[in-house]
């Protein structure tokens, strides 16, 4: 399950890399914010992807750089949200 979520996230994020960002391959620990893969506009797309794909709702207070720091942290958030253990 973990691998599936991580792979889904990586596939989405690699397709959504903004122009001018010098990253072509994303690993589970790639710094998505520091590398420019996710910025304040990119966050909207990844949240919509998470909500549609996994049936979760990302609360306003969870729009937090630490949650979106890398694929591993996003995956952990999704797992927690899906079990309702928030």
């Amino acid at each position: 399950m973990t691998d599936n979520i991580q792979n889904d996230l990586i596939t989405y994020l690699e397709d959504a890399i903004p122009p001018g960002v010098a990253v072509s391959r994303i690993e589970p620990d790639t710094d998505l914010i520091g590398s420019g893969v996710i910025d304040s506009f990119g966050i909207v797309g990844i949240i919509e992807f998470m909500e549609e794909r996994y049936g979760i709702t990302v609360a306003d207070e969870d729009i937090d750089p630490e949650i979106f720091r890398n694929v591993r942290s996003i995956e952990a958030y999704i797992q927690t949200a899906r079990t309702g253990a928030t």
Binding site: P18, P19, G20, I33, G36, D39, S40, F41, G42, I43, V44, I47, D60, E61, I63, D64, P65, F68
Partner: protein, 207 residues
């Protein structure tokens, strides 16, 4: 820093027409009538750009822009700056600092990236970081606030990226596209900002 906060025009206190605030990708400088170009005019009248702004639904002329810039540059509480790309001097948006409490030295930051080709390129956070660094280091402000409609998740993330902490949620406090929406407020003290951007602490904000 010359003058007194709340009395002297803020631009004059900040360094006047020659002010240059330095970011990584962008620099900020004051705007004058020559900057009231057609693209700037188009930004203010674009529904998509202004969807989550108080400007939405209004129309602005070139004369409105020139009058606004004159007022802004003379204001004791407003510092209006253009956002320019360092790579080619392209004017891509604006950012402002409005002092909301002179005694407590609190100011609010507001941003507009008008050139859509620059959305998703980290420009807004770079500009915000540069202006907030200047506000703490040069203007000796104590606190910066940022606010946005909750449905504007891009803006929420921008505030959090800048190190700001959530301070309030005003329920159904605005009307967007026929629906009431919450308004979020964020706050940031200097120590929190330099915790997030430790590399800036010893760097000049201008130049």
């Amino acid at each position: 820093m010359n003058g007194e906060l709340g009395t002297t025009p803020l631009l004059e206190m900040a360094g006047g027409a020659e002010l240059r605030i330095r970011g990584e990708k962008v620099y900020l400088r004051p705007l004058n009538h020559a900057d009231a170009h057609d693209r700037y005019h188009a930004w203010l009248n674009d529904d998509e750009i202004n969807r989550y702004s108080e400007r939405r639904g209004r129309s602005y002329s070139h004369a409105d822009i020139r009058a606004y810039l004159d007022d802004a540059n003379a204001s004791p509480v407003l510092l209006q700056q253009g956002v320019f790309m360092r790579e080619d001097d392209n004017h891509v948006g604006n950012i402002s600092l409005r002092v909301t409490n002179v005694g407590a030295r609190v100011a609010e930051v507001a941003t507009l990236i008008g050139e859509k080709d620059y959305w998703g390129r980290g420009v807004i956070v770079d500009a915000g970081k540069a202006l907030i660094h200047f506000a703490f280091q040069n203007l000796k402000l104590r606190k910066i606030t940022l606010g946005n409609y909750a449905i504007n998740r891009a803006s929420t993330f921008k505030s959090r990226q800048l190190g700001a902490k959530p301070e309030g949620q005003f329920r159904d406090a605005a009307l967007i596209d026929g629906k009431y929406v919450d308004v979020l407020e964020f706050g940031l003290f200097a120590e929190e900002f330099y915790e997030t951007f430790a590399e800036l602490a010893d760097q000049p904000a201008t130049g």
